[in-house]
Symmetry: C2
Subunit: 263 residues, 2 copies
DNA sequence: CGGTATTTTGAGTATCGTCAAGGCCAGTGG
DNA sequence: CCACTGGCCTTGACGATACTCAAAATACCG
């Protein structure tokens, strides 16, 4: 349980290596080691419940690897996915009350768990950490709004295109979600059709049809149900009704790759 | 337009009366007067642009009265509404970069503007204020997720029902949006059909049809295009696919009112 | 009262939700 | 090793819903 096996210059994490969390980079060294002292790694299998609605989570989580999905459970058993958590994302109410959404592991996942009480104490002492948290939530808010934009596209095909674009931009180079080499960009869909349908406000059948419709257009190619190759980023952007393609840096990079060797 | 006509015991606001911002109540007195010192009231007419996308807003805003709408501007001139700001809501990036959404006055509105630099300085000195900001953003995040839930309802009628429910619950007793007296609950729709269509991911025509469909069901009655009377809250909740009705306090109150004199 | 913008209605077409059946893959047990 | 089973994805058909275009009605403003 020590950091001895890490190749990086260890920044003092006890349970886990905090060094690669970009958001925490700005923090002073001693804060990092304080954080390392109160954290433990938790592993979850795909489908496992990380935190249930109403639960008073006793830790603040920070995703290290894998994908977690946030969802709102409806009383009739169904649930709406309202977002995904990937490497570097944090969750858990900091000062507020119990959770309003539940969190499940979408894939096998490891999270860095900070004891809640200790973390809040640290938070009270450190304006820097407080600011990091604020910026983190602010970012989460922006992402939620992006989801709203995607969801407000009238046609399912457009929403799916927007979703794929979001995967390409925000979740690029995260946890094997996106593999880009010259002339080929492949995206792994981290959730099944049913969840994706709930997320995009439609039914699994329509998701399936939308996927194949995009494939027929030549915008994508379906390698496996959960793995698609991006063929025409501009077409996707047009479908999604976004100007997106040109002013998102991550997407420009991908377009470079796609252009470099058109297969 | 001064604060002189307020009956409350003034808490020392210079430009505006901060006393009725519940979120700020927990702050110590001297912080309140510090805040009062760096704030000025700004008034906006309906339709006026408060802040544009990419702009580096030089103040942090806190809505005093009226409704502001947050929207993402598309290059082709259209725009997607991604949320509403009402009394007590704050906006403006605190430490982060330029705005990613633009903000317009949906109705005539007054906002309390804190000079950005001064506010951030205050933030750095006061953990309490910092926490208030954090909680505020956290609340905003929850609301954004509620929007997502509403947006992910497949049928337009259901989305509209969810929207009305949201107006009833969250925006109750705010700025004349909701007038409830015995046996009658009326809601003012703060945005026009076009914006509402963008918000709910559909077209104005469908919004209109959905309104009248709800009216035919007896769930609502359309007094004016922008004023509807709630007739059957349960029916609305059922339409929206939410368990909502029973576990939202504000809605229970409304149901009491509706039950008290069924007209 | 006239002019403009917004809302509503209508008709036709495309899309989507629904139900039902078939196919694909992985894990299980013979 | 192979058949079986169950879950997920896909496909098809049909009815319901929603989008599009166009025009009429209404509300709003001076």
């Amino acid at each position: 349980m020590t950091t001895s096996h890490h190749h990086h210059a260890g920044t003092g994490g006890v349970g886990c290596n905090l060094a690669h969390f970009v958001q925490l980079e700005a923090l002073p060294k001693e804060m990092m080691s304080d954080l390392g002292r109160i954290c433990r790694v938790r592993s979850y299998a795909a489908g496992q419940v990380v935190a249930d609605v109403g639960e008073d989570l006793d830790f603040i989580g920070c995703v290290q690897s894998g994908i977690l999905r946030m969802q709102k459970n409806l009383p009739d058993g169904r649930c709406h996915v309202v977002g995904l958590l990937v490497e570097g994302d944090m969750f858990g109410r900091v000062f507020d009350g119990p959770l309003k959404i539940s969190i499940e592991a979408a894939t096998g996942a490891q999270v860095c768990a900070f004891q809640r009480a200790s973390f809040e104490a640290l938070l009270s002492r450190s304006p820097e950490l407080d600011r990091v948290m604020l910026l983190n939530v602010l970012g989460e808010l922006d992402r939620a709004r992006e989801w709203m934009i995607i969801l407000s596209t009238p046609r399912v095909k457009g929403r799916l295109a927007g979703f794929l674009l979001l995967l390409c931009s925000r979740y690029a180079n995260i946890d094997h979600l996106l593999q880009a080499s010259e002339g080929k960009v492949e995206v792994r869909i981290p959730i099944d059709r049913t969840d994706l349908a709930h997320l995009l406000g439609t039914r699994p059948e329509s998701i399936s049809r939308a996927f194949h419709s995009l494939a027929d257009d030549g915008s994508i190619a379906i390698k496996r149900p959960d793995l698609v190759a991006i063929r025409d980023l501009d077409a996707l952007a047009a479908e999604a009704g976004e100007d997106a393609a040109e002013d998102i840096p991550a997407l420009k990079d991908l377009m470079q790759i796609l252009a470099s060797r058109p297969e």
